[in-house]
Amino acid sequence: MRLDRTELWLLASGVVLALGVFVLPNWLTFLLTIAFAKGLVVQGVVVQMRAGLVSFGQGLYYCIGGYTVGMGGQWLGVHDAFVLLALSMVAAAVVAMVLGLLLTRYREIFFAMLTLAFSMILYGVLAKSQSLGSTDGFNVHGITALGWTPGSSGKMFVYVLTCGIAAVAAVFLHRLSKSSVGYVCEAIRENEVRVEYLGASPRWTLYSTYVLAAAVSALGGGLTGMATGHVDPEMAYWTTSGEFVFIALLGGIGHVAAPFVAASLFSTVRTYAIQFVPHSWQMILGFVLLGIIIFLPKGLWSLFKRTRKAEARV
């Protein structure tokens, strides 16, 4: 497997950031851990956006990832970070394989609404589950790695782990975007009818992309659970998913590193905004979002401009 320039650059950034654990203050590594973990969830949103689908329910897989890590430790006695993350991905992929069968029949706002509804179902279930701590959720602790117990340096370990996973995921997603599937997804966004007439199944392509996006997002959820030491149903609430859509639009779909950069920016601004203008944070987000839509139409417009004529005139 040969690496191209972007891929080398992504891996190098991952290594440099991970080495930052020795010099960066704790608050910053924690902020970056959360940002990159969220960035992974956003990657899931972006992969679907490339294919023209906007998921307003990616929180579903974020939450599944987090809860799998939490429950694995609590009930299965699994504490190894790698095993837990693998379980998260599997759990998310299994759920996505089932829901994807239905979801890939829908496009546009129907897809958005249905993804939202599914994540709210999970929220509804978790919020009423006494044994899972209802709306308070529960704590995640005792993470180990291949037999090693990080103990008090747990947060630092999760940071390094997150940097590593984010870098590897970025390389993988970069490959994906340059692969046949990546281009076919773009082609589906621009002209689904033609893709069908070229002999491919848009639905199957979207299905596999959906499952993949779920697995990547679950990684983000699992890492967040480990980093914060806590999971709660709020992870599946629709406003959480809205945040992911926001970050995805902020970064755009042009570059594989964009979700991570956007998520870092988002987390940093939020940290300060909540401190200095506590009741204007969302308002800032709202105006920024409108600004992106109005002033950066190129990146966004192309996203949603599907060839209507194609459907009408075939």
């Binding site: 281009y183 082609a187 069908e196 070229l198 002999g199 060839t307 005139r313």
Partner: protein, 261 residues
């Protein structure tokens, strides 16, 4: 011609509410033929193409491709059996370059389940796509975004994308519509030359009688959902019914008027 027709429709019917768009269409097309489909707007030409390619289910009847029924198959399945089509309005991926459009078509033609990790742009694919673009004389536009390419070129790319899968049969839906008058003949010349070289059976819908007469070996004339004449060009174009209902009518005449002006 005693061998199995490459495409055959038997008693094909289609209604949209009270409108009859196809009525008892029985057509057999043999390998190597170049068939022109004429008829005024609403005569049922596009309905016929849409039924044959699986986009529109017929109300009744049977469609055979290479001796196999293709009734009820999805367009992609029919495409994979070797029937490709182009569109009246070029159906491309506007944000991609001309080359990438071709590469997407080629990659899908190679495998219905595109690869997740193998890059789209492999040297072999690029070479083949470039060769096809060259055949159509549009290689100069290789790195242009589709939105920045002239209409005639788009139509050619649209056809090139259909042809890159090496289909047995090619359906062209009004290949010269939307193309400037002086470009129509050059465009058709390059298309027909490539098509002949590849030995593809062609069926094309066209309003312009001069173009039809020049390139086809056989004409199907549609009127009100029915085939009212089927035969060699001179015979069909001289047919009294065809002259009355099709040629001196609607778009056929229109195309001529524009050409002479």
């Amino acid at each position: 011609m005693s061998q199995t027709p490459i495409l055959e429709s038997r008693s094909l019917h289609r209604t949209f509410g009270a409108v009859v768009a196809a009525k008892d269409i029985n057509v057999a097309i043999h390998a190597g033929e170049v068939v022109g489909v004429i008829g005024s707007n609403g005569a049922g030409k596009t309905t016929f193409i849409n039924m044959v390619t699986g986009f529109l289910p017929p109300s009744a009847g049977e469609i055979m491709f290479n001796g196999r029924s293709i009734l009820g198959l999805a367009p992609r399945k029919i495409t994979r059996m070797g029937m490709a089509r182009s569109f009246q309005v070029a159906q491309l991926f506007p944000e991609l370059t001309v080359l990438d459009n071709m590469l997407v078509a080629l990659s899908i033609a190679e495998s219905p389940l595109p690869s997740f990790l193998r890059p789209l742009r492999t040297p072999e694919r690029v070479e083949k796509a470039e060769a096809t673009l060259k055949e159509f004389g549009v290689a100069a536009f290789r790195d242009h975004q589709v939105t920045a390419v002239p209409q005639g070129t788009r139509k050619l790319v649209d056809i090139a994308m259909a042809l890159i899968a090496n289909p047995k049969m090619l359906l062209l839906d009004e290949p010269t519509s939307g193309v400037a008058v002086e470009e129509k003949f050059p465009l058709m010349d390059s298309v027909m030359e490539v098509v002949r070289r590849h030995g593809v059976t062609v069926l094309f819908v066209e309003h312009d009688m001069e173009i039809v007469a020049r390139y086809v070996s056989r004409i199907l004339a549609f009127y009100a959902g029915e085939v009212i004449a089927d035969g060699p060009p001179d015979q069909v174009l001289d047919d009294a019914k065809v002259r009355e209902l099709v040629v001196g009518h609607g778009h056929g005449g229109h195309g001529r008027a524009r050409r002479s002006s």
